[in-house]
Amino acid sequence: MEQQLRKMNYRDALNEGLREALQKDERVFLMGEDVGRYGGCFAVSKGLLDEFGPERIRDTPLSESAFTGAGIGAALGGMRPIVEIMTVNFSLLALDQIMNNAATYLHMSGGLFNVPLVIRMATGGGKQLAAQHSHSLEGWYAHIPGIKVLCPATLEDARGMLWSALLDPDPVLIFEPAVLYPMEGELSADAGPVAIDQAKLLREGKDLTLISYGSCLHKCLEAASILAEEGIETDVIDLRTLRPLDDESFLASVAKTHRALIVDEGWRSGSLAAEVSARIMEQAFYQLDAPVERICTAEVPMPYAKHMEEAALPQVSSIVATARRMIDG
């Protein structure tokens, strides 16, 4: 029997994932600013208050540190909280709780107390929200031991990563690129949990490895189509999980293509792309035919003006141009 496909967008897929988690496990609840009555600042949690009530869909006061810390405590106390922080820039207010508590409890206690907490937040630019709402800090968060960091780029992952994250005994951060919310696509009727320890090869080619995640993944896929018309065949890898990284995925690809380009919406210096580059350096140096390159966001607080924001962000044209140059030498 053929699998039924349903049209929906990335936001709907997230909403379905939330609904399913709330239905399956009564320890699960959602807490954050405006997740209930407002329906979520990006409408991700729309309808959930009506279905699950204010005990499980909890609007919080504006106090990122307290409600994130309360998520940690609730997780320690036997619940399975999902904390929503509106956008990654605001999560800085909760970073003490995330790094000093969520990420360290298990270790400081010598293994006694794990923290089964999921924190979701929107990330990234592309919506002209300027310098206090647009940064892509998921790669930066991936520096912190003790947490796992996911970034769903597809409807399937938007739908499925949440439940897998809730099954994880340790804190998991899920970053949702805000530009993807309206992205349309199809999802099979029985879509469910997905692995959260593996990257995924989304397109195969022999000439070059494109490594990306999140919103830039789609730019890579677009670039790959353009390049294919010119006869340049690329592997395109969606990292999916930014911590811990699935090294095997890109090492296997580089062993085949001998060339890699990493595309990352984070700022360049100290980016996740730098980490991937360094790992290729360490583990596949002798297989490289050319230096690994990176395309990242310009190192500026995000400007408001559209043309400036576009200039700051990685774009298909620069991916194509860089790939061409890397192949032509």
């Binding site: 600013e33 405006d34 209930g36 009555r37 407002y38 329906g39 600042c41 409408a43 609007d59 006061p61 504006l62 106090s63 990122e64 540190s65 307290a66 820039n89 605001f90 207010l93 919506k127 002209q128 929200l129 300027a130 310098a131 206090q132 709402h133 310009a298 190192e299 500026v300 607080p301 400007p303 408001y304 003006a305 559209k306 043309h307 400036m308 200039a311 700051a312």
Partner: protein, 334 residues
């Protein structure tokens, strides 16, 4: 600890000033109505937070400030920028993302800045401006300047730790900050009673021994008087003051708000108390304005807005080459 409560229906101060208030509020109202239109036309993008309904607060408070005083505001700051004296053109061009915008189009609606009028943002992190305001006041105090730093924020900000830390520091060090809480009863979709265990906001400031007052934020004259008294207190004592202005936003939180969290009835009720309509009513009663006068005023404002839009339309885009400027100061600055 002083607590003052304004009486409703204050007498109008004088003709000239009342008309000035009206003009300022109308300028803000019409400018923002135009902005909403331009948002739909996709000329303005990003987040656009309208101040419509709350104009009396910025206009009344500004009245109490001198040119040496500083202002720190939020993402909902068109009103403050305009009442402080910034030109519509510079603000409109900013929202267009053009180089002649007050911040070259780098900031947009949420980040208006101005050196001349000492407007230090346009801060889009809720409560993020409060510590900065405390520091500005500290600098003034240490340099023996007699300025006041006026810090505006919503009631939602008062649940954030930064509010409390800032309030304590200002009180402990007795710094000249005029804290202005624009209590519009909602933080996005979260009603005050879902955000605070105690909804009497002045009690929170009073817990730091900061003197407080509450005023009807729909009455510009009352706000002006309360702000005057408040800023006088700051100037006399050198220490902080907390002024709560009760107001209401007539529009959605931003352009993306489904508005499910409050009833139409409630909104309509507040609209009855529109600060502009009620001031006009009182001015007419006094005979200080009539319909032709009002029309003239509207006409002048429309012209001002048109030319601001023209200015924005005609302004250039900043060169993409300059993208990485202003991450650090240009060489030679300090």
């Amino acid at each position: 600890m002083t607590t003052m409560t304004s009486k409703p229906g204050q007498a109008l101060v004088n003709r000239e000033q009342s008309l000035h208030f009206l003009r300022q509020m109308l300028r803000i109202r019409r400018f923002e109505e135009k902005s909403a239109e331009l948002y739909s036309a996709m000329k303005i993008r990003g987040f656009l937070h309208l101040y419509i309904g709350e104009e009396a607060v910025a206009v009344g408070v500004t009245e109490a400030l001198g040119s040496d005083d500083a202002v720190v505001a939020t993402y909902r700051e068109h009103g403050h920028a305009m009442s402080r004296g910034m030109s519509m053109a510079a603000i409109m061009a900013e929202m267009y993302g053009k180089i002649d915008g007050c911040c070259r189009g780098r900031g947009g609606s949420m980040h208006l800045f101005d050196v001349e009028h000492r407007l230090y943002g346009g801060n889009a992190i809720v409560a993020g401006g409060l510590p900065v305001a405390v520091g500005l006041a500290l600098a003034d105090q240490m340099q023996n300047k007699k300025s006041v730093t006026c810090c505006c924020f919503g009631e939602g900000a008062m649940a954030e730790g930064e509010f409390h830390e800032a309030m304590n520091l200002a009180a402990l060090w007795q710094l000249p900050v005029l804290f202005v809480c624009e209590n519009n009863f909602y933080a996005m979709g979260t009603a005050l009673q879902l955000s605070e265990s105690v909804v009497d906001l002045t009690s929170k400031a009073a817990a730091y021994a900061v003197p407080t007052a509450t005023v009807d934020g729909m009455d510009v004259i009352a706000v002006a008087e309360a702000a005057e008294k408040a800023s006088d207190t700051v100037r006399e004592t050198g220490g902080p003051f907390f002024l709560e202005c009760r107001t209401y936003r007539f529009r959605p939180h931003s352009m993306f708000d489904p508005g499910l969290y409050r009833s139409r009835q409630e909104v309509e009720g507040w609209k009855q108390r529109c600060p502009i309509i009620s001031l006009i009513r009182r001015l007419k009663d006094k005979g200080w304005i009539d319909d032709p006068g009002l029309e003239r005023l509207e006409g002048e404002i429309a012209t001002e807005i048109d030319s601001a839009v023209d200015f924005a339309e005609q302004s250039e885009w900043e060169s993409v080459e300059d993208l990485t400027r202003f991450v650090y100061s240009d060489a030679g600055a300090n």
